[in-house]
Amino acid sequence: MLKRLRFPIRYVPFAATVAVFIGAYAIGAISFKNFFTLRVFVNLFHDNAYLGIAAVGTGIVILSGGIDLSVGAVIAFTGMLVAKLTACGINTGLAILIALAVGILFGILQGTLIASFDLPPFLVTLGGMFLARGGSFIINEEALSILKNPVLDFIEDNLQLSLGNGVYLECIEVVYLIVLLCGIVFTQWTPLGRRIYAIGVNEQSALLMGVPVARTKIMAYGIAGFCSALAGIVFTVYLKSGNPLNCIGLEMDAIAAVVIGGILLTGGVGYLLGSLFGVLTLGLIQVLIMFQGNINSWWTRIIIGILVLLFIFMQNLITKLSDKKQ
């Protein structure tokens, strides 16, 4: 009996998202020519890889019952850092490693403030956002391009796999998928991952059950920091430049993606795989609007708002229904 009931309650929001994604995709395929092509599908991944990676980090933090608003700013910061370092003639690989290290440290710092002084995550990461954003302006006030860079060019020219008629599976979407996979394995099959869920469900109980709450939290934010930094690097590869104005407000997209993916903001409930469909759906909405091709900017905003709303409603509804069933 329980076995049969368990499917809806646990997987419903996620399943709903998948359903809606497929639905939206079908609509696009029917109404626009050249929409139902491999290129569009691959572009979804290529254009949203950085968002996806950020969403993995955000997802983990949200599962731990926190929130991370610093994502966008950290992406911009790492971009600027890599650009600056390479401009200073430092080996690109090294620059990337440094950037990643900085990202992790940044996350750990935030985590420490939150965990060991119980400051509200919203606030600390907001501070982090200001810090990183300001920092990237201190590095350089205007965008820096990384042209003629052997490493990036190599990545671009060689690390790609042709799928026929001019469509390429490129490095960054692969990186995204790998990160996502690692994220899923991490959250579902490692003790630390489960601890993150545990403190997300109920910190007090988790503590009494012997979960090292503070350390786990710090870890979660560290991982998020890493993801943001990696997203920043992917974005830099994607743009071949760093720009302090990049990804303003991206954190909101990431959060939206995670929520749409069926992870509850209260923490402890949901699956990282959902974030994939959250990201793809957001991307899909944009592509649909672009294909439609004469929507005012304000309508774009309103439509996205409405769609987010629809998602939330549907999830609430379905979850309520399945609760009733139980």
Binding site: L2, K3, L5, R6, I9, R10, V185, W189, T190, P191, R194, R195, Y197, A198, V201, N202, Q204, S205, A206, L207, L208, M209, G210, V211, P212, G268, V269, Q326
Partner: protein
């Protein structure tokens, strides 16, 4: 030989001194009861032994070495594991995880879920529980959850097992199962600290008893050398005679003519939850709701108070008919109904508000936001009830979270008495409350009845019901199976009905 020795343990929270210089020792292979009123410091002592709190002074010796425990998992590592009073597990995670969290079996560094489930099943099997371990904990009853919690602590190699009020949400059989397990473990050389308010349970399983009062240790005794009455008097610092007088109530009130019907339920039902229910309650009398855990007692209370809405039948309180769709707590309060709910932590306590604010809350709510009770009056009310219920707090402005469980419960009772109710529903009012407070509350309810107030009394302790109620409604499997009145109200009859 001793396995645990604490010397000169003291602990204070702000102005509240919870423990004063407590020496406590425990032998391997014994079941040791830790007794005391609420606020006596039992929970605090336990939390110190398990590393949740660090003592202000004093030292802990465990298993051959002095220990400085900074966290529960440090305690767990050296073999101290605990089952707390309120189920402290993770409802949104699976049973397996709740049992294995933090010590999952691994394969190449990854969790081996198959093995984990197996272990969970084994651990539960010891308690003769057989459930789907991959289902969410939330999908099981509190009793099961409690057993899962115990299973969790049995799952590790532990030398000292602490059971803090483990039986408060278990029914008879489950309790006896548990006791068997406890004895079994003791015989294997495990030391067990057992905290409970059920005296007979103490005498049933415990070898030694340590009594605390007001944060100080009164003494440690062999169970066989310590008569019940003496223990109680030591716990509450009152003489035996006083206690006798407290326990009894004169049945004159049952002889007095019944007042008008104040509560009338006809085929009252909420489908799939509880019902149909049929009973009446006369002003100035007590009706008991008897039944095993999960028999629908709390559900009934919620139905009457409008927490859950009934979808069939007729409910009339104080001459007001409760409308199916619109019946809610606010309306209930308006007709002079009050509910002191079972789950204090969740449904009653407002931790960050002061005692005063907590006391006047319901009264204020009934008056509505716009006509605020003048501050002076608020203080008077608070002072009055702190005195009447003998609530132990430094001042009315103390935050409620700094009070002990029993005193919190008293504050909640005060909150509802302040609304001058004519009908009050007491759902397990004495759960997790020591005998002293228990007697006080019983005495109080009697007085209230004498003063013309009616009481719906819910308790898993049949003695209480038999003693206090002229009329008992018996529930089984979320349905009303019968009603007893007057002289028929006896343990035997009730048990017969419950057993069915």
């Amino acid at each position: 030989m001793d396995i645990l020795r604490t010397t000169g343990i003291s602990k204070s929270f702000g102005e509240v001194q919870a423990l004063k210089d407590v020496d406590f020792s425990l032998e391997a292979g014994e079941i040791h009861a830790l007794m005391g009123e609420n606020g006596a410091g039992k929970s605090t002592l336990v939390k110190i032994i398990t590393g949740v709190y660090q003592p202000t002074n004093g030292s802990i010796w465990f298993d051959g070495a002095d220990r400085r425990l900074n966290s529960p998992q440090e305690a767990e590592q050296i073999g101290i594991s605990t089952v707390y009073q309120e189920v402290n597990l993770l409802p949104d995670l699976s049973v397996t995880e709740n049992i294995c969290l933090g010590r999952e079996p691994r394969k190449f560094g990854f969790i081996d879920w198959k093995a984990a489930k197996e272990r969970a099943r084994k651990a539960l099997a010891k308690l003769e529980v057989d459930i789907d371990v991959s289902a969410n904990l939330a999908s099981y009853s509190i009793a099961i959850q409690q057993l899962v919690a115990i299973a969790r602590s049995l799952d590790v190699e532990c030398k000292l097992l602490i059971l803090d009020e483990p039986t408060s949400s278990l029914d008879e059989n489950e309790t006896h199962q548990l006791f068997q397990i406890m004895r079994h473990l003791r015989d294997q050389g495990l030391a067990i600290i057992f905290i409970t308010h059920f005296l007979d349970q103490v005498y049933e399983v415990c070898d030694r008893i340590t009594i605390l009062r007001d944060g100080c240790k009164v003494g440690t005794f062999r169970a066989c050398d310590l008569p019940r009455v003496e223990m109680v008097s030591k716990m509450i610092g009152k003489s035996a005679e006083e206690i006798d007088s407290m326990g009894h109530r004169d049945f004159s009130s049952s002889e007095q003519a019944l007042g008008p019907v104040i509560l009338k339920a006809e085929n009252l039902e909420s489908r799939g939850v509880v019902g149909p229910l049929n009973f009446e309650l006369h002003a100035g009398s007590q009706v008991g709701l008897a039944g095993l855990l999960g028999s629908g007692r709390t559900e009934t209370a919620n139905l009457l108070f409008g927490i859950a809405s009934h979808d069939a039948g007729h409910l009339e309180i104080n001459g007001k008919v409760a409308n199916k769709s619109t019946w809610n707590p606010r309306k209930a309060v308006k007709v002079r109904l009050a509910l002191i709910a079972e789950d204090r932590k969740l449904t009653g306590v407002i931790p960050d508000l002061t005692v005063r604010e907590n006391i006047i809350l319901a009264l204020q709510a009934s008056k509505g936001a716009l006509n605020q009770i003048p501050r002076r009056q608020q203080d008077q009310i608070a002072e009055e009830y702190i005195r009447r219920l003998d609530i132990k707090t430094p001042s009315p402005e103390q935050l409620l979270k700094n009070l002990s469980g029993g005193n919190q419960q008293k504050v909640l009772i005060a909150r509802w008495l302040a609304t001058k109710p004519e009908l009050i529903i007491l759902d397990e009012p004495t759960r997790g409350i020591d005998i002293g407070a228990k007697a006080e509350i019983e005495a109080l309810t009697d007085d209230l009845c004498k003063a013309g107030m009616s009481v719906v009394f819910i308790s898993s302790e049949l003695e209480e019901i038999v003693q206090d109620c002229q009329r008992v409604v018996v529930l089984r499997d979320r349905r009303q199976v019968g009603e007893l009145a007057g002289t028929d109200v006896t343990m035997k009859n009730i048990l017969k009905m419950i057993a069915g």
